[in-house]
Amino acid sequence: MVAAIVFWGLAVVAVAAGVAVFVVDSMARATYALAVSFIAVGALIILLQQSYLGVITILMMVMEMAVMAVYMVMFMGMNPALMPMDMTHGKKTAIGASAGVFVLLASGALLIPWPERRGVPAEDLTNALGMEIMGEKMLVMAVVGPVMVATIVAGVVLAAGRTRYDRLGDDLRRRPADDPQPGGVGR
């Protein structure tokens, strides 16, 4: 009973905050309305006894929104971030598409014959879920992780306007490096 009330309360908060993203006229409010929506979803995941996934969802989303706020104001020069603004565009297409997707998903959820539960939940649900998703592929994932990090670093290096030769001179021996932004460790 209590769980049901909490579930519906959080669900309403999640949807209402999600709607608020498109109703409010300030980017800061929109950003943090989205954060509130994600926090409610994270709490719902905790309600499903996936505490790790729920808490980590809240952590990631709050941090993400804080960083998004930085970039939002930094890159929106002329400044829709600071002035009242409309958060929507392409209204008719967007409303049509989202209404269609909602009807599709909701009718699927209502009409599908849901299977009965077989067996009992695992002792450690998070661990079981991880094994179910990863299973024997864990080694592959452990290898792919560093490769992805290397790709990100390589991408940043290729995209950066200044190279190590600009920083350290033609023979890479200039110390300290010639950085437009001086760092804290005096390299």
Partner: protein, 312 residues
């Protein structure tokens, strides 16, 4: 590995936990102003100064700025105090805990990340240049301290084999984690001062930007945000006790008393350090955080992992 038996107390005890946290926060504020008074040559006074400023701020009328986003401003200011209460919910006081969360360490991390949002919101909502500059300074500091802090939190969790705070405390019955994880402990304390916007990380509320995030805050708003900073400092100090300082372990005194004593000592050191360290410039500290602190934390994690694997 010995299991620590924690008793989850009824929710009503949260009131007592709140009172203890407020008392610790007041102690931190009082100690700080006493040290200030001594440094300024005003003798031994200053212990009660936080009480007088509380009274003064409670009576003060709220100033407002043209087109301030009052909602976000209030959320940012009050959220700091609320966050510190959420943080202490998972800290065991000896054998008692309010919430024996199986992911208590991640919970702590989540609450400290919320400070990112709160400080920025308080800076943004005021619709003032100084406030916004303060908010951005905090985020720049956050980018520098948060990842080292996260990796520092990993070390005790690996050693205890659990994300439960009580298990981390229980795994230190022979050797406190601080002894063989000094780097993680120091980085953890750096993180605590960071999310408390305290001491070296006070650039967000610096005098050079007219108080930064605090510039436009007055009355109750200013009071709750300032109280929240001290409460976060106290909560962070309290969290270091089960994580690194053996929890309630100690001779003679009962376990809860040891937790309080250790918390007070860590808190006093953090307050005292404010006068010993300069404020870190966010742009300078960013490189220090990523080039020095982050590798140190990862190396610490490696050492801990190797020890855990070696001991089987």
């Amino acid at each position: 590995m010995p299991e620590t038996v924690l008793t989850t107390v009824p929710a009503g005890w949260a009131v007592l936990a709140g009172i203890v946290l407020c008392a610790l926060a007041f102690f931190a504020a009082a100690l700080d102003s006493a040290l200030s008074a001594r440094a300024e040559g005003a003798g031994r006074g200053g212990w009660l100064a936080p009480a007088w400023s509380t009274v003064r701020l409670l009576r003060q009328r709220r100033r407002t700025v043209v087109t301030a986003d009052t909602l976000l401003l209030r959320v940012g200011a009050a959220g700091m105090l609320v966050g510190s209460f959420l943080m202490v919910a998972v800290i065991p006081l000896g054998r008692w805990t309010l919430a024996d969360l199986d992911v208590g360490v991640v919970w702590f991390n989540t609450v400290d990340v919320m400070v990112w949002a709160l400080v920025w919101l308080a800076g943004w909502g005021a619709n003032s240049v100084h406030g916004l500059v303060g908010g951005y300074r905090f985020l720049a500091h956050g980018l520098a301290y948060e990842l080292p802090l996260m990796f520092a939190l990993v070390a005790p969790a690996i050693a205890a084999g659990s994300l439960r705070v009580g298990d981390a405390a229980g795994a230190q019955d022979r050797l406190w984690f601080v002894v063989w994880m000094p780097a993680a402990f120091v980085i953890f304390l750096i993180g605590v001062t960071g999310f408390s916007v305290w001491g070296p990380f006070a650039a967000a509320v610096g005098a050079d930007v007219a108080g930064g995030v605090l510039a436009e805050l007055s009355g109750v708003d200013r009071l709750v945000l300032q109280a929240g900073r001290y409460a976060f400092l106290a909560a962070g100090a309290a969290f270091s006790v089960p994580l690194f300082l053996g929890g309630g372990a100690g001779p003679f005194l009962p376990e809860w008393a040891w937790v309080v004593v250790k918390t007070v000592v860590v808190l006093a050191v953090l307050v005292w350090l404010r006068r010993k360290l300069p404020v870190f410039r966010p742009d300078r500290f960013l490189e220090f955080g990523w080039v020095v602190l982050l590798p140190a934390a990862v190396a610490q994690d490696l050492v801990v992992s190797l020890v855990v694997v070696w001991k089987g």
